[in-house]
């Protein structure tokens, strides 16, 4: 498989998953604020700033808006085109990647990306404000539909494995960030209203985090109604069977990587396999107490870093192939791993517009 095709499959999948998770972030925040409307109001900036903090986008946000509110944060995360991680940008980039490999994916997959893209072109901020639940549901469903179509119309070979790697790396990263949202909220409240941190509002917040991962029902089946932070974190980080837990996602990414390279538990053949294997092993032997010893926020930050490293190695191993005996004839080095695979097409756009006979 051409490296470029593999890379486009990877980013198509990754951007789609990212759009879904951003929808989940926003959805949970709205729900949370509605649940808590007795004690705080929907515009409480500390709830909205958390969403910007976990996407590591504070500077860019501040250069565009001057307050943290439902309106500005929604605009930034849903519509803003200068934010490469907004839902609109992500779906645009997913479509751009799909378009460049349209001959490699199934036409059903293309139609689904294309449909969602055109749906988003017609959505207005007013529409989202009137029915946030309906809008985020639409995005989540579109993503599920895309994954379902992919599983059922696209051969489960190497290309499919790249789609899986991208999906699960992105998902693991996003779950870590989502948990971190809660951490940031706790932090800001501990400063302003210490009594909230231990109260029933705390449980409501944790339930919201579970809901945003579609995990509340699955959690209850395991832990019944014993909703306490330890169990919730154990479930979201360490559970091996729930598809929106970090451990599950890392295992799934590992499986896909190993299928491509032929690595196994006792033998790895490249650094991507080594790093993902190491991460998976550690997660398998981690207890929740270990996480608290490290400190939740630090643990998550480290996890995110390691997921980025895996992504970099996937890039170096499969996409930026460069055998040592080849002199560097590349005009432009392969893309850095900053995640704008779709944007890369622009640099040669003018030249592609050659006249045709």
């Amino acid at each position: 498989m051409l490296s470029r095709v593999a890379e486009s499959l990877f980013w198509m999948s990754r951007y789609f998953e990212r759009a879904e998770n951003t929808a989940r972030f926003l959805d949970v925040n709205f729900n949370l604020l509605l649940d808590l409307n007795k004690i705080t109001h929907v515009e409480n900036p500390s709830y909205w700033i958390a969403l910007i903090l976990v996407t590591s986008d504070k500077d860019r946000f501040n250069s565009i808006y001057d307050e943290y509110s439902a309106r500005t944060v929604t605009d930034y995360l849903v519509f803003n085109k200068s934010n490469p991680n907004s839902i609109t940008s992500c779906i645009g980039l997913a479509r751009e990647n799909a378009r460049s490999i349209i001959e490699s994916i199934s036409s059903e997959m293309w139609e689904q990306v294309n449909n969602l893209y055109h749906y988003l072109q017609n959505v207005t901020p007013q529409f989202v404000q009137n029915d946030p639940y309906g809008f985020y549901k639409e995005i989540k469903n579109a993503s599920h539909l895309f994954q379902g179509i992919t599983d059922n119309t696209f051969s489960h070979n190497e290309g499919w494995d790249f789609i899986q790697i991208a999906k699960y790396l992105e998902r693991a990263d996003n779950i870590a960030r989502l948990i971190d949202v809660k951490y940031h909220m706790l932090l800001s409240e501990a400063k302003s209203q210490p009594e909230l941190v231990a109260g029933s509002e705390d449980i409501i917040q944790w339930m919201a985090v579970l809901k945003s991962c579609s995990a509340l029902e699955a959690f209850r089946k395991v832990y019944l109604s014993k909703i306490d932070p330890d169990n919730i974190l154990r479930f979201l980080i360490l559970d091996r069977t729930f598809p929106r837990s970090i451990n599950f996602s890392v295992c799934a990414a590992e499986d896909a990587l190993w299928r491509i390279s032929g690595s196994s538990r006792h033998r790895y053949v490249n650094n991507a396999d080594r790093l993902i294997g190491k991460l998976e092993a550690e997660l398998s032997y981690t207890a929740i107490e270990d996480i608290f010893t490290t400190g939740l926020h630090n643990y998550l930050a480290d996890l995110e870093q390691r997921l980025v490293k895996v992504g970099e190695q996937v890039h170096l191993t499969y996409f930026a192939y460069h055998s040592p005996e080849i002199e560097s004839t590349d005009i432009e080095e392969a893309l850095p791993f900053t995640g704008i695979a779709g944007g890369r097409a622009n640099w040669s756009q003018a030249q592609q517009h050659q006249q045709q006979q």
């Binding site: 051409l2 004839t329 590349d330 040669s348 592609q352 050659q354 045709q356």
Partner: protein
């Protein structure tokens, strides 16, 4: 007269009409078609239009218009009434094109080897050596089988008497063949009954024929040569065609950055390492192929590709430097070229052409700008053209200046009254639209022409320009056995 055609004005005293003869009766090979269309109501036509539109939209058959807002994709306009070419007329076209392409290939081989034709003064040497498409670096290079022009698409028109003439030879990267194939698919869906009434020669084997041609020119005799298609990328107006052909042939669609040259061999970068490439069907212009040799700023090409090609480790289709033979100035010499290399008279005629580089012709051109079509020698796609009768005095003066400044770059032709073909307007009435025909010629061990081509139609009422970049559309083209 039959419905839709009762109000159709063929204007046969002014134009050659493809369907209606001078006597005002349908030509025999259109008889059954008119009969069938006569059974349709306007609603029937609209319903069939919808079938066709859905087909094109689902297939993603769109093209991009440059100069408009980025990413504007449009459906390629399509007319429901196909052009019909009876077998005996097709035979002339087929023989004529085979002769023409064989001669042009011999010409290219000569130009890049002994240059006999220049030494014999059949063509003034400065016209060749001064052409911007002449690549002196390729003198002495031997492409496999001695073939330069593997895929060509010559534009054929009919004059006022209905004679077939060649308007243009596209020897570099002719596009449009995917529309030829998809138009046929769309017509089959919309008019299955009509297909039953004609013996239409199939064209669906074009991708296999193309692949066979590309495999035949492989530099290695490996059992399965590795053939790839090189596209400029997704922003190219013909990108759909590139991905369509790659999919149909089952070969990799590559961009410049997918390829790498090492030790004068070309490889694709794959997730499993490098794989050697034997044949590149390139849809990238010469100038962008290799930044080390041509435009250094090219992001579309592959550094080192030209050397790999010169070493004979990879074959490019078409070869580099073919543009020297489809230049509009050289075009005027094609009858002599055919005579010189084959000793035959041309089967298909040329359109009379005046060369601005020739002082007597230049005088004539400048005096008659209002009635001539002036073309820049090296442009394509309907750009850089002055259509005398439709131009303003100011435009004419502009062109006069440009012509005097660079006479080598301009030619003029009489405004030919291109033949017309009834086409639908708003699905309710028919009017006569100018058409031309682009058959696709494949040249490997033999010359192959699939029976058909892309009939391009100027759907803007009265317009003479059929290029898709200028608002033209297309029709399905049927070669029928009587």
């Amino acid at each position: 007269m039959i419905r839709f055609f009762e109000r159709y004005e063929a204007e046969t005293c002014q134009f050659f009409d493809e369907v209606i003869s001078k006597e005002g009766t349908p030509r025999p090979h259109y008889d059954k078609m008119l009969h069938r269309f006569g059974q349709f109501s306007v609603d029937d036509i609209k319903a069939r239009r919808e079938i066709v539109n859905i087909f094109f939209r689902n297939q993603g058959i769109t093209f991009t218009v440059y100069g408009e807002e980025e990413g504007v994709e449009r459906l390629f306009p399509f007319d429901l009434i196909p052009g019909v070419v009876p077998a005996h007329e097709w035979q002339t076209i087929e023989k004529g094109l085979t002769q023409r392409i064989t001669a042009l290939n011999a010409f290219l081989h000569d130009i890049y080897h002994g240059q006999k034709i220049l030494k014999d003064k059949i063509i003034p040497a400065e016209l060749i050596l001064g052409s911007q498409h002449f690549r002196r670096e390729f003198i002495g290079v031997n492409p496999p089988l001695g073939i330069y022009i593997h895929v060509t698409g010559s534009d054929i028109i009919r004059d006022g008497q209905g004679n077939y003439m060649v308007l243009e030879d596209n020897l570099r990267t002719p596009s449009g063949v995917s529309y030829m194939l998809q138009n046929r698919q769309a017509m089959k869906r919309a008019f299955p009954v009509l297909f039953d009434k004609y013996k239409i020669r199939p064209i669906e084997n074009y991708p296999q024929e193309l692949l066979r041609t590309l495999q035949e020119i492989s530099p290695v005799s490996r059992r399965e040569p590795n053939v790839v298609l090189l596209t400029p990328g997704i922003y190219n107006s013909a990108y759909f065609e590139h991905s369509f052909l790659a999919r149909q042939m089952g070969i990799e669609l590559t961009e410049g950055k997918d390829l790498v040259v090492n030790n004068n061999k070309v490889y694709t970068r794959t997730t499993r390492g490098l794989e050697q490439v034997d044949v590149i069907y390139r849809r990238v212009d010469d100038a962008y192929l290799d930044p080390l040799v041509f435009r250094p700023d090219s992001k579309l090409g592959v550094a080192g590709l030209v050397n790999a090609y010169r070493k004979g480790n990879v074959t490019l289709a078409n070869a580099i430097g073919c543009g020297v033979a489809d230049d509009k100035v050289i075009y005027s010499f094609v009858p002599q070229i055919i005579k010189y290399y084959l000793g035959e008279d041309p089967i298909l005629e040329n359109v009379p052409t005046w060369l601005a580089s020739n002082p007597a012709d230049l005088k004539y051109i400048l005096a008659n700008l209002g009635s001539l079509v002036v073309k820049a020698a090296n442009e394509s796609g309907g750009y850089g053209m002055l259509i005398g009768p439709e131009s303003t005095i100011e435009q004419q003066e502009n062109f006069a200046e440009m012509i005097v400044a660079n006479p080598r770059n301009y030619i003029a032709q009489p405004t030919i009254s291109l033949s017309r073909h009834p086409s639908f307007f708003n699905d309710t009435e028919l009017f006569g639209c100018h058409i031309d025909l682009r058959p696709y010629v494949l040249y490997g061990k033999t010359v192959t022409i699939v029976p058909g081509g892309l009939t391009r139609v100027a759907l803007k009422r009265g317009s003479l320009v059929v290029n898709s970049s200028q608002g033209g559309g297309s029709k399905d083209t049927w070669v029928v056995d009587e």
